[in-house]
């Protein structure tokens, strides 16, 4: 239902949209023709929400193999004069950065909007990258959002500006905008009908000539410089002051929301306030007006002191001396997302009032939350990765080296949960595809232990593939295990190149075919629920003196459940169960519990019937039953 709402043509209607859905709506309103990206929390729902309406709205929407390919494809569409949107998470922009800096030199004819979502507090488990610095690096304009309404409006504005200036526009959000839902007032859907055309213009679209390249550089700088006023006047920047205030506060992104709430709750009406909604070019004259005649200014922004450094630079050119507070003096933290408490504490310190809740309650909170036992992120019940990691651990036991006698490099996505208890198999998680190359480096350094790299199917195609090619070229002794659940699962089940597109269930590109075709001589495909065969394959792969690939393939348990495929649910024979907890110790499956008689209980609601607990039970107390859900 919501899927159709996003395409609603009722102008002025107010609907509840998540920040990412609002970006999607903005693109629809702007008459976008092509949308692509690579899944990455917290950015994935933009494309996710467009997929169901794409056909009806005649928008081509697709998931790309990685962010670089996505950005380049979108740029091609924009070179041909049509409007394109590309979406990614913070780390994704690093992958696309090569393309970003070059496309900036070419400029675009059709609007090109690049959406990047950052993640302060690492909710999705990656670095706390502050992507605003990419605006400086690429010299491109960047808008930063505070709420879903702005997300929608900024997207519409960005397409227009991109065509007005012939440059791509970056839009940045953070988790608390991207994954926050709020009322959004809809605007009209523009009809943009254009014939695609691409004129030959090597002077603009090639870099090999230094003269041309420097011309392009000059043009890009000039374009953004000349448009300062246009950006400054966008409604995403706001200066609220009467000129009499002694103190001023600058806030960007979600920090603005907390600031407004704290100002209202505590009646702090004597502060001059500046909201920054354009990160590049920054609204310099607004910043100057705020600084003039203020005794001190506090800068509120999550992560790095991006705005703060620029405010400082502007202040240095002014005759009046204004003290500037923020990250430099520790008034606000550089680590972790902001909350009301962060802003209350900083603002209180800044104006010399105590705005922080009382100490007594803080003690209760500390005591209470410490009493909660730790909940590690487990694999879902029936996850095929449990079988693979169990087999890896088993293989090392059979080789009499144990978990510590071998090295297992991990990778991004659900597969990294193999680092958690009870498996504790993975040693590293660096970036997409790095499991293979980091492992190769360890080998080149002279480490002689068995080394194994584990990664998922989507990660394999995203960036693991070039690493595998390198492995073959250097004939490096390394076992690569691809945990192929045929989907990009962790980000919310987006298709990967291994996802079957037809009822026959065959993946369009098979990992084993790819591995064989580039010269990997040992390639074996196994079913991770067949513990014995998977263990054997891993032992054989580790023993090989060269690159080897094991494809451990089984559909993601959540997908299987959605499709109504439930395996044989297990039941425990209380006569046989000794309460040894071997199944829990080895699998940590959330469907396993211990009853009051100390015997294992299988939660029928959660069990997926993978039968791995039956396979590991030393007393054969678990029998795969015949129940249906």
């Amino acid at each position: 239902m919501k899927a159709l709402q996003i395409a609603s043509e009722t102008v002025g209607e107010t609907i509840l949209l998540m920040g990412n859905e609002a970006i999607a709506r903005g693109a629809i309103e702007a008459g976008v023709k092509f949308v692509t990206g690579y899944p990455g929390t917290p950015s994935s729902e933009v494309i996710g929400s467009l997929v169901p309406v794409a056909k009806e709205l005649k928008i081509r929407v697709e998931w790309a193999v990685n962010e670089k390919v996505a950005l380049e494809t979108a740029a091609g569409v924009a070179f041909a004069g049509l409007r394109a949107l590309v979406t990614m998470k913070n780390a994704g922009l690093n992958v696309a950065a090569d393309a970003l800096l070059s496309i900036a030199y070419s400029g675009v004819d059709g609007g090109l909007v690049i959406y990047v979502a950052d993640d302060p507090s690492c909710h999705s488990g990656m670095e706390e990258q502050d992507s605003r610095f990419y605006a400086n690096l690429s010299l491109l304009p960047m808008l930063e959002l505070s709420n879903p309404q702005e997300a929608k409006d900024a997207t519409v504005a960005a397409f227009k500006l991109s065509e007005q200036l012939n440059v791509p526009i970056l839009i940045r959000s953070t988790t608390r905008v991207a994954h926050s839902s709020a009322n959004v007032r809809l605007g009209p859907i523009q009809t943009v009908v254009r014939e695609p055309s691409f004129e030959k213009d090597a002077r603009r679209h090639t870099r090999a000539s230094p003269v041309w390249c420097m011309e392009q550089h000059t043009r890009l700088i000039r374009k953004v410089q000349e448009s300062r006023t246009i950006f400054e006047e966008l409604p995403f920047n706001r200066l609220i002051m009467n000129g009499e205030e002694k103190y001023g506060v600058v806030a960007s992104g979600v920090a603005w929301n907390y600031l407004m709430e704290v100002v209202e709750n505590f009646g702090l009406n004597d502060l001059a306030l500046l909201k920054i909604g354009v990160v590049n070019p920054l609204p310099e004259s607004l910043i100057r007006r705020l600084l003039e005649n203020r005794r001190a200014v506090l800068v509120l922004e999550e992560l790095e002191p991006y705005v703060e450094l620029n405010v400082r630079a502007t202040a240095s050119g002014l005759p009046t001396r204004t003290a500037i507070h923020g990250k430099n003096d520790g008034m606000t933290p550089r680590v972790g997302e902001f909350s009301h408490e962060t802003v209350r504490k900083a603002l209180g310190e800044f104006i010399g009032k105590d705005l922080v809740p009382d100490q007594v309650r803080r003690e209760v909170v500390k005591h209470g939350s410490q009493a909660a036992p730790v909940r590690y992120l487990p694999f879902c019940p029936g996850c095929p990765h449990m079988g693979t990691y169990l087999a890896i651990n088993r293989a090392f036991n059979r080789l009499r080296i144990g978990k510590e006698g071998a090295i297992v490099t991990g990778d991004i996505g659900c597969t990294i949960l193999g680092m958690n208890k009870p498996f504790e198999t993975c040693w590293t998680e660096i970036c997409m595809g790095a499991s293979i190359s980091i492992a190769a480096g360890l080998r080149h350094a002279g480490i002689d232990k068995p080394i194994l790299a584990t990664l998922g199917d989507s990660t394999f195609f995203h960036a693991g593939l070039p690493a595998l090619v390198n492995l073959v070229l250097t004939n490096t002794r390394l076992a690569v295990v691809v945990l192929d659940n045929q989907i990009t699962a962790m980000t919310g089940h987006q298709p990967s190149p291994s996802t079957p597109r037809t009822d026959a269930g065959e993946p369009p590109i098979r990992i084993e075919d790819v591995a064989r075709s580039i010269g990997v001589s040992f390639v074996r495909v196994v079913d991770p629920f067949d513990l014995e065969a998977t263990t054997e394959a891993i032992i054989d792969a580790v023993n090989l003196n060269g690159p080897s690939v094991v494809v451990s393939r089984r559909m993601c348990a959540l997908d299987a459940r959605r499709e109504g495929i439930i395996e044989r649910l297990g039941s425990v024979d209380p006569e046989k169960c000794t309460g040894c907890l071997a199944c829990i110790k080895l699998l940590g499956c959330p469907a396993l519990d211990v009853g009051s008689d100390k015997k294992i209980v299988i939660d029928r609601l959660q069990c997926h019937g993978c039968t791995l607990c039956a396979a590991v039970c030393p007393y054969h107390a678990v029998t795969p039953g015949e129940w249906s859900c």
Binding site: L16, R176, S180, E341, A372, P373, P422, I584, P590, Q606
Partner: protein, 203 residues
């Protein structure tokens, strides 16, 4: 009753229990009631079995999706210890709805960590200022016909508290708007059982 400022609901739980759907239902009901709404969710990492938390704020004007410390009006915990993990949101005006059905973490099952008694959890919540209504929502949902509807039992409980400024009809409208036809009947039943249970606990 006129709501001048925002109303804060915090929904902690364990991935797979339906806390996300519960937040969406509350947000939808608040929108039907004509309030401005903001929600904040954790998505994309906790598919099943991890700690999750949802925020729903509604009222005349809502500035941000996160609930300030101690300012939850209602905390609906789908799992007992998850209420403790979210105790920073509990304050003197917080009403807690607690599902007593435990999801014991690995460390507890292996005897390495203690799972506090539900009574202790209630006492800790009380010391933070909250009034707690505890009941087994999974058993109640089973009575309604599907144990997975425990989240909707909790929604019924929220409606019965009578403090949310959202009418019962708006909650049931939200159920109709968001749930598919096939799931509606069992969930209406779950909603009603949750409503009755909390009503009788109150009286």
């Amino acid at each position: 009753m006129e709501l001048l400022k925002e109303f804060n609901v915090v929904v902690p739980g364990v991935g797979g229990q339906g806390s996300l759907l519960l937040s969406q239902l509350i947000a939808c009901a608040a929108r039907i009631e004509g309030f401005e709404v903001q929600t904040g969710e954790t998505l994309g990492m906790a598919q099943r079995g991890g700690s999750v938390i949802g925020f729903v704020r509604y009222g005349k004007k809502v500035y941000s999706p996160l609930v300030p410390d101690h300012e939850a009006h209602i905390l609906i915990s789908l799992e007992p210890v998850e209420a403790l993990r979210s105790i920073r949101y509990v304050g003197r005006s917080t009403l807690v709805l607690l599902n007593t059905e435990k999801k014991r973490p690995l460390g507890v099952l292996l005897g390495q960590e203690q799972y506090p008694e539900v009574k202790e959890i209630e006492m800790t919540l009380r010391s933070a200022g909250a009034k707690t209504f505890a009941f087994n929502a999974v058993e109640l949902a089973e009575r309604a016909g599907n144990a997975r509807s425990a989240n909707v039992c909790m929604l019924g409980g929220m409606a019965a508290l009578g403090s949310s400024h959202i009418k019962s009809e708006s909650f049931t409208k939200a159920l109709k708007e968001i749930l598919s036809e096939g799931l509606l009947q069992v969930n209406m039943q779950a909603f009603n059982l949750g409503y009755e249970t909390i009503s009788s606990l109150i009286s």
